[in-house]
C-alpha cells in the first residue's frame, strides 16, 4: 500500500467511526465527539488529496528544496474547515449546556419533546 492509500483508508475509517457514533450514541457529548472525529477524517482526506510523492511543504526557501511541492490548496481548505468545525463545536456545546439545564439530561432518547 502506498502512503496516500493508507491515508485515504484511515480518513474514511475516521469518517465512518464518527458517523457510527453519531448513529448509535445517545449521549450528546459523545455525538459531538463523533462529529469531531468525522471532521478529522474529512480533514485528513482533504490533505491527502494534495499529496505528491516525495513532496515538500509549499514554502519557498532560500535554498530550493529538492522534488515537487504538495498542493497548497487543500491545506488552505483544511484550515478553513478546522475553524468552521471549532465554531460549530463551540455552539453545539453551548446548546448542550442549555439543554442539560432545561431537560436535566443529555440523552437523545430523553430529549424528545418535539416529535410527530
Amino acid at each position: 500500500m502506498t502512503v496516500p492509500q493508507i491515508l485515504y483508508v484511515s480518513a474514511f475509517l475516521l469518517i465512518l467511526i464518527g458517523l457510527y457514533s453519531l448513529l448509535t450514541q445517545r449521549n450528546m457529548i459523545r455525538m459531538i465527539i463523533g462529529l469531531n472525529i468525522a471532521d478529522l477524517g474529512v480533514n485528513l482526506f482533504l490533505v491527502t488529496i494534495g499529496f505528491v510523492d516525495n513532496g515538500s511543504a509549499p514554502i519557498f526557501r532560500a535554498q530550493a528544496a529538492a522534488g515537487p511541492m504538495v498542493d497548497p490548496v487543500p491545506q488552505a481548505l483544511v484550515l478553513t474547515s478546522i475553524v468552521i468545525g471549532f465554531g460549530v463545536t463551540a455552539l453545539a456545546l453551548t446548546l448542550v449546556m442549555r439543554l442539560f439545564v432545561t431537560h436535566g439530561s443529555i440523552d437523545t432518547a430523553r430529549i424528545r419533546g418535539l416529535k410527530w
Binding site: L35, A38, V42, I49, L77, T80, G87, L91, L95, T102
Partner: protein, 475 residues
C-alpha cells in the same frame, strides 16, 4: 461603481457594527437601514441589464486560482426577494422582539444570515459556497435557539447535528470533486466530472445533494424542519421558511444541473419531492399547533417546488421559481401572523386562537389571503404558480409527471382542509376564558402590520411578476 460584492459586504459590516453599538435602539435602526440599502441595491441589479452575467473576481485573481462571483438574472431576482423579505422581517421584528434582551445580537445574526444567503447565491466557487453555507447554517442554528425555550434548544441542537453531518457530506463531496478536477471553480468541476467515472460522480453527487439538501429540506433529510420552524421566533420561522430553504433549493438545483449534469439527479429528486409533498401535507393534517402545521406545510411546498424544478423543462423551472416567490410571500404572512397570535395569547395550540379573527379583523383578512394563496385560489398568486407547475408537468413528459399531478392535487385538498380548519377557528366564537388571556392592543403594532401587508401585496399582485421571473439555471 456598484459591485455585486456589496451584497455580502454591507450586511457583514452592519453585523460587525451592530455588536459594537450594543444598544437595542441603535441596532434596530442599523438593521433597518441595512435592509433598506440591500433592497435598493437589489432593485438596482434587478433593473440592470444582465443578459450577460456580471462577474467579479476576488483579489483580481481569475478562477480557477481565485474566487469568482457572478450576478445573473436569477441571482438578481432572488437577491431582490431575499432583501425585500429580509427588510420586511426586520420591520416586523421592531415590534416582535421588543421584549428580548439581546436584540442587537439577534439583528447581527440575522444580518449575517442575509450576507451568507447572498454569498451562496453569487459565488461560483464550490468551496466558497461551502463557507457561506456554513455561515448560513450557524446563524440559523443560533436564531432558532434564540427563542430560548426548552423546545427551541432541542430543535436547534437537532438542527445543528443534522446540519453538521450535511456539511460533512458536502465537504467530502468537494474533496472528491477536487480530486478529479483539480479545481474548485464550478465550471471546471462540471467539465471534469463530465468525463469522470460515473459511479464516482454518483457518490459525489449524492453526498453533495443530500448534504446541501438538509438546508433545502428535501424529503428524507428534512427531519429538523418541523422542530426548528415551529420553535424558532416567528420572525425567524418566516425567514427560514420564506427564503432560506428556497435559496438552498435553487442553488442545489443549479449545482445539480450544471456541475453534476452527467448523472440524472432529476429522477431521484423528483421522487423525493413527491414523497415530501405527500408526507408533509399528511403530517400537517394531523397537527394541533399552528406553527408546526405551517412547518409541515413548508415541507410539502418545498416538495412542490422541487418537483417543478426537476421536471427538466424550461416551463417547469419557471413555474418552480414562481412558486418559490409565492411561497415566500404566503408562508411569511402566515408565520408572522402566527407569531403575533402567540404573543397575544401566549399559547401555541390552534384551538386557543378561537375568535381572534374577529378581534383583529385586518390580521384575520391577511391570514385568509395568505392561506388562500397557499392553497392556490384564482385571483391570487398561488393559483398562477400552481397552474404553471401542473401544466408544465403535463407537457414535460417526464417520468412520474402525471403521478406528480395527482399527488399535488391531493396535497392541495389536504392543505386546504387543514389551513381552513385554522381559519374556521379564527372566526368561531371565542372560548370562555380565552378573552382574559389576550393581552395588549388587539391589532398589530404598525411596523408588524406594514410587514405583513407587504407580503400580502406580493401574494395578491404577484401574478404580474410572472414574466419577470427568470428560469435559467446556468452557472
Amino acid at each position: 461603481m456598484v459591485s455585486p460584492i456589496l451584497f455580502i459586504v454591507v450586511p457583514l459590516a452592519a453585523a460587525f457594527l451592530t455588536v459594537l453599538v450594543n444598544r437595542n435602539a441603535g441596532a434596530r435602526i442599523l438593521a433597518l437601514l441595512t435592509g433598506f440599502a440591500l433592497s435598493a441595491l437589489a432593485w438596482f441589479w434587478f433593473r440592470a441589464d444582465l443578459s450577460t452575467p456580471v462577474s467579479v473576481v476576488i483579489a483580481g485573481i481569475a478562477p480557477p486560482m481565485g474566487i469568482q462571483l457572478s450576478m445573473d438574472r436569477l441571482s438578481a431576482a432572488l437577491a431582490l426577494l431575499i432583501s425585500v423579505s429580509g427588510f420586511l422581517v426586520i420591520l416586523y421584528s421592531q415590534s416582535y422582539l421588543k421584549s428580548e434582551e439581546a436584540q442587537s445580537k439577534h439583528y447581527a445574526v440575522l444580518l449575517l444570515l442575509m450576507a451568507a444567503s447572498f454569498g451562496i447565491l453569487l459565488t461560483r466557487d464550490l468551496f466558497n459556497l461551502f463557507v457561506f453555507y456554513e455561515i448560513l447554517c450557524i446563524s440559523s442554528y443560533i436564531l432558532v435557539a434564540s427563542e430560548e425555550t426548552k423546545a427551541s434548544f432541542e430543535a436547534s441542537l437537532k438542527y445543528l447535528l443534522l446540519g453538521s453531518v450535511g456539511s460533512l457530506f458536502m465537504l467530502v463531496a468537494i474533496g472528491l470533486a477536487y480530486r478529479v478536477s483539480g479545481s474548485l471553480a464550478m465550471s471546471d468541476i462540471a467539465q471534469a466530472l463530465g468525463e469522470a467515472d460515473l459511479s464516482y460522480v454518483m457518490l459525489t453527487a449524492a453526498l453533495f445533494v443530500l448534504g446541501m439538501g438538509i438546508e433545502a429540506a428535501i424529503f428524507p433529510v428534512n427531519t429538523w424542519l418541523p422542530d426548528a420552524h415551529s420553535t424558532a421566533p416567528s420572525s425567524i420561522s418566516a425567514v427560514l421558511s420564506g427564503f432560506v430553504i428556497e435559496l438552498a433549493l435553487i442553488v442545489l438545483l443549479r449545482i445539480s444541473m450544471t456541475v453534476f449534469s452527467s448523472v440524472n439527479l432529476m429522477l431521484p429528486l423528483r421522487y423525493m419531492a413527491l414523497a415530501g409533498i405527500l408526507i408533509g401535507e399528511l403530517a400537517a393534517f394531523g397537527q394541533t399547533e399552528l406553527k408546526r402545521t405551517l412547518a409541515y406545510s413548508s415541507m410539502g411546498q418545498v416538495g412542490l417546488m422541487l418537483f417543478a424544478l426537476t421536471l427538466g423543462t424550461e416551463a417547469g423551472r419557471q413555474a418552480g421559481m414562481a412558486h418559490l416567490v409565492m411561497h415566500t410571500g404566503a408562508k411569511s404572512i402566515l408565520f408572522l401572523i402566527a407569531g403575533y397570535f402567540i404573543v397575544r395569547t401566549g399559547k401555541r395550540d390552534i384551538k386557543s386562537y378561537s375568535g381572534l379573527g374577529r378581534r383583529m379583523p385586518l390580521t384575520g383578512v391577511f391570514f385568509v389571503i395568505g392561506a388562500l394563496s397557499l392553497v392556490g385560489v384564482p385571483p391570487l398568486f398561488g393559483f398562477f404558480t400552481k397552474f404553471k407547475i401542473l401544466s408544465a408537468a403535463a407537457v414535460s413528459g417526464a417520468t412520474g409527471a402525471w403521478l406528480g399531478i395527482a399527488v399535488i392535487l391531493l396535497g392541495t385538498v389536504l392543505e386546504a382542509s387543514y389551513l381552513f380548519r385554522v381559519v374556521r377557528t379564527l372566526y368561531s366564537d371565542p372560548e370562555t376564558g380565552n378573552t382574559r388571556a389576550v393581552k395588549g392592543r388587539m391589532e398589530m403594532d404598525v411596523p408588524a402590520l406594514i410587514a405583513v401587508f407587504g407580503f400580502t401585496l406580493l401574494v395578491i399582485f404577484g401574478s404580474f411578476l410572472l414574466p419577470l421571473i427568470p428560469s435559467g439555471l446556468a452557472l
